[in-house]
Amino acid sequence: MKALRNYLDKIKPNFEEGGKLSMFRSVFEGIETFLFVPGSTSKSGVHIHDSVDSKRVMTIVVISLIPALLFGMYNTGYQHNLAIDAHPGFWMTFIYGFLAVLPKIIVSYAVGLGIEFTVAQIKKEEIQEGFLVSGMLIPMIVPIDTPLWMIAVATAFAVIFAKEVFGGTGYNVFNVALVTRAFLFFAYPADMSGDQVFVRTDSVFGLGGGTVVDGFSGATPLGQIAIAGKELIGSFHNVDVLGHTIGTWDLFVGLIPGSIAETSVIAILLGAAILLFTGVASWKTMMSVFVGGIFMAGVFNLIGSTVVMTVTPLDHLFLGGFAFGAVFMATDPVTSARTETGKYIYGLLIGALAIIIRALNPGYPEGMMLAILLMNVFAPLIDYYVVESNISRRLKRAVK
């Protein structure tokens, strides 16, 4: 390590202002602080600092995403095998999924980090690590058959217009990964929904070729619910890609079609446990989203005039991106409500809105993405009222 440190110290002057490689200063600094904890000491104020920094926080979030990501890779292969009736064993199934997902991760990071480095260089700032999380989230929440160029375009749009124009990490109004998803959805609707995009039927790098079996349908459980007619109330049940009935337990385990990493509630809960235990995500936000969803689903159960209204609250939480959004998206500290009371309101409204969108809109089966984006807008307003109530309480104290 010493040799590496010495080497960095030796080449450092080249990257400083006036050095011949100064145009890559942000890249060098990014790599240097990635390799070594900065040795700079406090100049004013406290003389000692907590060991935690934003790199550590982002690392914890990325670690918490890994169970869902690995499961998503396996599930990609699993669904593919069902579709072509192949039985290549656990590892080959995983490797197929791994190869199918990996290019998306690489594209997302390459485009996003490229923009981040450029902006850091222009603004003469330190590289910020917010995109470590966004760049991981983006490939996890898209359908497996999303073309790479679309991911590249959407990522570039989101990083520039949802983040950098607002001032970078910590200043963005909208969750960057969700803006990417929304951009994809509204710019390329035909490629982002329907029955064809959630299960990969083609081979990947020559691996896993085969013909699709008869009776295959790549519709997600939510998609099936959305198109089910009123005559099916009471008799509706979800099916897997081959038409077999699936129940709540299958939704919980997650071997079903859906966006890459959103399907397994088990894997998501593992991530949630890491986030809550380390204190990186707020349990108040997370819990409120689930409570809001359960409440709203219960209300619709009472009305019960369409199939989606009769879906039980528990199934709603396990379906689609609800759990993933509640755990990893709603809890983004920058775009969520920042006051403690505000987090309850923010979470409740996300949960309730997601179910309302699912139940009442005819076009789009999933409501989580739009619910969170909408509440991103309202988060500052919620905080405003919480702060105002603190102010008025303090003023009353003075009058007494």
Partner: protein, 450 residues
């Protein structure tokens, strides 16, 4: 004890290097100095020049805007230098001590027979007034005010802080006299925070038990939980060590600045208390008591690790400080992939490092590195968890940064001092210099309002 405050929010940082309750040798300083930078809200005007002979209690400088606030020499001797920096800013007024101490005579006085005005004048003339601070603004109190209440916290809860029970030993009569003098200065009450469990009976003083993690002992927390400061009100705060000095003035008739200073921190070899006089050199306190003497390896702090001032051996003890702390500087440490390591030996208020497994008993050595780059505010609950007041720290900070006076007033700027935000600064993953922001905000607001 009428009232007990239980604090839940906060953080005890268990550092290595606590001072044991013993007296150490040392404290003989070859020069003493008044450093204007220690006093917030003061414009210094020097009253002596190099070569002047002074006694302990002779005026060295005073405040331009309140000429009655005097700063006196802590020892008798000869003024050797008036050090000035850029724009002739006064850095320090240095006195070389005589072998025999000679005191200005102020006359013994019976506090109970004095009027409020007489007590004020006595404290002002003996140069003890700067020890009385006021809120709002956390500056040296204005003698023209009569405060609503006066607050004292005898519970030093900061990391490695001195133990007031040890400091007060043998000083009880002076402490009582000091309290009685302060009682006369306010229309309201003198509130005294005491670490819960100790019982001290004090006639006219309202004692309040306090328990919980730091900053439970901060006087700001005591104020917020007993009688918060509202707009237009002024309260005063005095550190208990300085109450002893005020009492001594009335009991002995002299300005005797001798006090106990705790020597603490992982980089010291001997830890305990040294009897010295305010304004002594840092060298006289820690000279020969530091571990590694390599240049730049040790950071010496006048005060505690959260609110103290970085000093060198040739600098002087801070006016309000009863503690010197030595920790590793750490600028030569280069941790490989620190953000990814399990971190069993790293202290964190969060659970993002595995050190939480070890429990709270372990004593940590923490160096002065910031351990991360400066970022925008990202995490949202960190400040609240270490800020035990009915104030929203993040929003108050944002109001200060944007200098929105209405918002600052409404969110509680008048109640706080930079030290109340020290733990927020410690736990902040974005490494923002919060105390500096608060100090600048208070100074700007003071200029705007006066």
């Amino acid at each position: 004890m009428a009232q007990v405050i239980k604090i839940k929010k906060g953080l005890d940082i268990n550092l290595k290097g606590k001072a044991s309750d013993v007296l150490l040798t040392g404290g003989k300083s070859d020069s003493y100095a008044i450093v204007p930078d220690c006093y917030d809200g003061i414009k210094p005007k020097v009253a002596v020049k190099a070569g002047d002979k002074v006694k302990a209690g002779s005026v060295l400088m005073y405040d331009k805007s309140h000429p009655e606030i005097k700063f006196v020499s802590p020892v008798s001797g000869e003024v050797t230098a008036v050090n000035r920096g850029e724009k002739r800013k006064v850095l320090s007024v240095v006195v070389k001590p005589d072998a025999e101490m000679a005191y200005e005579e102020f006359g013994k006085k019976e506090v109970s027979s004095l009027s409020r005005q007489e007590i004020k004048e006595a404290i002002l003339n003996a140069g003890l007034w700067p020890f009385i601070k006021q809120r709002p603004y956390d500056i040296v109190a204005s003698p023209a005010d009569t405060p609503r209440d006066i607050f004292i916290s005898t519970f030093y809860s900061a990391p490695l802080a001195a133990n007031f029970n040890f400091i007060i030993k043998g000083q009880e009569p002076d402490f009582m006299t000091g309290l009685n003098a302060l009682v006369k200065l306010t229309e309201g009450k003198v509130y005294m925070g005491i670490k819960n469990g100790l019982s001290i009976k004090l006639g006219s003083v309202e004692t309040v038990g306090v328990e919980g993690p730091h900053p439970a002992g901060n006087v700001g927390v005591l104020i917020n939980h007993t009688k918060p400061v509202n707009k237009g009100e002024v309260v005063w705060t005095v550190r208990p060590d300085d109450v002893i000095l005020i009492g001594r003035l009335f009991n002995k008739g002299i300005a005797d600045f001798s006090r106990l200073v705790a020597i603490t921190g992982s980089e010291t070899t001997e830890r305990g208390y040294i009897k010295t006089i305010a304004g002594c050199t840092i060298k006289s306190l820690v000279g020969g008591k530091l571990l590694s003497s390599g240049e730049g390896r040790v950071r010496i702090i006048s005060g505690n690790v959260l609110t103290g001032r970085k000093v060198e051996e040739d600098d002087y003890l801070g006016a309000y400080d009863n503690q010197v702390t030595a920790i590793p500087e750490g600028s030569d440490v280069h941790e490989f992939l620190g953000w990814a390591m399990p971190g069993l030996d790293k202290f964190s208020a969060s659970r993002t490092f595995l050190s939480w497994l070890i429990g709270k008993k372990k004593e940590y050595t923490i160096d002065a590195r910031t351990k991360g780059g400066k970022r925008a505010m990202i995490m949202s609950n960190d400040y609240d968890r270490v800020f035990p007041m009915d104030i929203l720290p993040e929003y108050l900070l944002k109001a200060i940064i944007s200098f929105d006076i209405d918002k600052m007033e409404n969110l509680g700027i008048y109640e706080v001092a930079p030290e109340d935000f020290a733990l927020c600064e410690f736990v902040d993953a974005s490494k923002i210099e919060i105390q500096k922001i608060v100090r600048n905000g208070l100074d700007l607001l003071y200029r705007e309002m006066n």
